[in-house]
Symmetry: C2
Subunit: 166 residues, 2 copies
Amino acid sequence: MSKITPLNAIEMQCLRQSFGLSVEQVATLTKCTKEQVIAWESAQDTAPMQAQKALLDIDDIIEMQVLNTTDGIEELFKKEPKRHLAFVVYPTQALYTQYNPEFLSSLPLTELYNTAAWRIKKECKIVLEVEVTLIALDAEAYKAYRADNNMSESRESRAKWAATQL
Amino acid sequence: MSKITPLNAIEMQCLRQSFGLSVEQVATLTKCTKEQVIAWESAQDTAPMQAQKALLDIDDIIEMQVLNTTDGIEELFKKEPKRHLAFVVYPTQALYTQYNPEFLSSLPLTELYNTAAWRIKKECKIVLEVEVTLIALDAEAYKAYRADNNMSESRESRAKWAATQL
């Protein structure tokens, strides 16, 4: 949805809800006030084009993330067929910030990453007939697993831990 | 997602948020209490399979609605090409119940219909390169339009009114 056609009140509300975000979170993301978000969602004002673009860009990033990850999983499965896969997500913003900082600039909130993850799960089921389970990172259990297996912290280690949770 | 694999806490939360629903609304939909929904989303309990199935069935209905409507629009455009289309949505539950009762049994809440409508908008943009604008029904303006044009209430009349709002 990169070409910008102005969104009306109900569309701005749908867009926010499709991300699973609160009014406050959209205010922060778009550098607007909570009152502004309420105003544009109730058709008392039009959302600034900059705010619309910020949110539509996030939607594009999520779609891209879904496509790329699904393609990656399809590629992986050509070598190593599996029908069940674990995908790590982060239950709090603190864990997301600590463990997944490479996404902070494009998808700053853990809810946005979760939105992408949920769509990946659906896409893998429909397109690849692969079951993806979202595994919320349990920091303590993950640390214990690394200690037991003498592993350093990395995306791969998280994926290996998550696979033990299936 | 019709085959049921049990969903965990974060997945149940993602599913609810993908619909744009509150904890209270999911409680009503699944005939559970708000406390139960909070418990299964925080991994203190597992969501009853009946509740999981109720929500996954709604997800299936939305996906089907998106596919069918997008196919319908594609078919329509073979005869009458347009690049911009209005799609009526209902800003309140009262208007949804009054004007769109044929969906009440499958998608009982206006938020669910809006979720489908938003996905239809995205799908039409990506797949058909057709711009869909969601038009919130304005009951007073719609009544005035019907009076002016001597039209009875029908889905077609609503669509015609909505087209004047583009």
